[in-house]
Assembly symmetry: C2
Homo-oligomer: 446 residues x 2
Amino acid sequence: MTPGTRQKMGPEANQEANQETNRTAERKNAVPMSGGGLVIQKYGGSSVATPEKIRNVALRVKARADAGSRLIVVVSAMGKTTDGLIALAKEVSASPPPREMDMLLATGEQVSAALLAMALNGLGVPAVSRNAFQLGIVTSENYSNARIRDIGLSLLREDFEKYKAVVVTGFQGITPEGDLTTLGRGGSDTSAVAMAAKALAMGETDVVCEIYSDVPGIFACDPNKVKGARKLDCITYEEMLELAALGAKVLHMRSVALARKYGVVLYCASTFSEERGTYVVKELPEWLENPVVTGVTVARNQMKFVVRRIPGSGDALSGIFRVLALAGANIDMISAASDNGLTFLAFTLQDGDAASAVEAVAGYMKEKGLEGWEIEPGVPVAKVSAVGDGMNAATGVAERVFSALQSRGIEILGISTSEINISILVEGSRADDAVNALAQEFGLIE
Amino acid sequence: MTPGTRQKMGPEANQEANQETNRTAERKNAVPMSGGGLVIQKYGGSSVATPEKIRNVALRVKARADAGSRLIVVVSAMGKTTDGLIALAKEVSASPPPREMDMLLATGEQVSAALLAMALNGLGVPAVSRNAFQLGIVTSENYSNARIRDIGLSLLREDFEKYKAVVVTGFQGITPEGDLTTLGRGGSDTSAVAMAAKALAMGETDVVCEIYSDVPGIFACDPNKVKGARKLDCITYEEMLELAALGAKVLHMRSVALARKYGVVLYCASTFSEERGTYVVKELPEWLENPVVTGVTVARNQMKFVVRRIPGSGDALSGIFRVLALAGANIDMISAASDNGLTFLAFTLQDGDAASAVEAVAGYMKEKGLEGWEIEPGVPVAKVSAVGDGMNAATGVAERVFSALQSRGIEILGISTSEINISILVEGSRADDAVNALAQEFGLIE
């Protein structure tokens, strides 16, 4: 038993994986129905929160196994287990060493993996659970936020001679020295995608990675805020990355980035229904009309600050951003202009960071002996973003965004754009109105 | 990271360890007070049941570390964790595969080990937690009742260059293939003794194995039943084995047998007080007066059955014992006699086994076509045993036992003896009277 070979998921693996992507994407519609090939499924904490839910997951896995697939099932810890373990740790130590924290947290996934393997065997599906030690999921040594370096698949190959399903502990790995690590937020998604990537790199040709949670797929906009919000059949990696970066929560950015890098086809759907979910792929199939805007998302609870009449030019600005970073304030949108040696600066940040940010700026000004400047009280804002690969080729998108908002009397407090994204700052209280306006303008409502 | 070398704890290790025993035993009185050497401590589930109790254990470990000892601290799962996990398993599957059960249960000790390591670091004691994978605690493949084959100590040696205390998950091991196993009842005690044995075999000369629980040591008889029952300073392995086999519960037989085999000095005491505990050693120190009877114990809830006039001789008896074994009835004391081709048989068993035993005997008689025999209704009895190494050399012990009981009107329903043990069957309702009579007769009350 060694924790896997040290073979890296290098550029060759990447190339090889990418050649597979298109072929796999073409087949995508068939995959969840038919059998065959290697299916990687990931079930999140809410999907395995109780023994009953675990039995439900086992039934889903059995259906796929009966259809002929080999399954790797990656599980998170049951429900709020991880939170409970963190609370325990805080009770024994004010600042637990990260190495011990990961040793503690890694138990959560081992519990759910063992229970799911039991449930599967109870249903007559030969299954075995495997943890990070057994599989050799080797990571960096960044405890609580480790990066996967390699996964040993040789044991899995042996397992598939005896078992129909291998249940794998998500969220965790081991260092080359054998210490346990955890992968940080979205860790179990990352585990699942990494296993799929490695399988592709090792010559498996029919691989899909299915991410199950309590939401039935990826929506063009938040269905809790926009009535009739459309669920997407397909979305590209780029679009999904933008949406995740801008606040959508179904998939963590990191797992999407990994899927893009290795050409892993993702499928997101609900554990609790048979409703059709959403594919995340490299390119939309040609027969699918390319929408200009695929999704609209919103980042709430931000504050916009304006600092006027800062004496001097660039020096003061870089100084201000340095003290803001030191104060832990995460600056988002920035605009600045100089006139007659006086600088105007506007920026946004999470409202929780506002107090320390204002203090940091004022402290810097005082320390440098700068006078005559003024900082306005923060204004609560939201950043509403329209994302779409098609935006690249289409013209007039910005104009459609502006007029949709202005026709509803929504003031535009700031703008930023990228190739496939246009983001608008609006008053915090108008966020939902703004999302609805854009959803209607770009046909994201059914 | 491999699970340790395959070097066995073989006869050489045994010999080497035994040479150490006497020297270590001589020093025993000094050990818990002074520092130096390698201390293996084991804390049971009730000792680490809450974060507060874990912090208490950390304080105890810190005191020993501050006095200069290197510590290996073996922990059980917190409180009733293991029971909770078993209940979860039963909810997902009626008959969970033992391999998955061990995967599940092994998480309990990892939680408490990580938490204790956190608490120690919080107190400024450099400490690290280690699980069965990391240490290479290699066992047989009997899931749920595995036997330790070897423990890798090389990692521990490295650890002691950086840490004062290594916290080890008790109760668990891994197979040579890397599957998790658990050691069954008394498993964490066994883990601790095995680590001490291996340390002795590898040349450590100053080793003691301290078993902490919620009882302050080993008593000559049950302090809950005998007022003033004396706590022992010292007891031999042989006596402890007899007492454990006969029903005393402080130490599991298996760990005592292992300690005897490898000459590991054991020390049993309470986690919750500074009260002096009990040593378990090869021989009592010469300055200690060798008592004839060291302890009295009792096995309750037994039934005595008498079968009269069984036709034939040995054949029928062996047939009866075979069907009793098949029925899962655990027979304890047996007496039999033949007269004129008819056999008289008396035996005892746990009262829970009584119904199936009677059924099995009757079924056998019927199957064989035997007639004229009769089975009397079962009588509730208890087996009261006096144990002592000194019994071997002393005369008149049996007589003192009989007269002590008879003078109190306690009827003797059966007798069995070994070299260091005399066991008497009495009516179940007189068990406590009998224990008190013997405790008084042999001076086991303070």
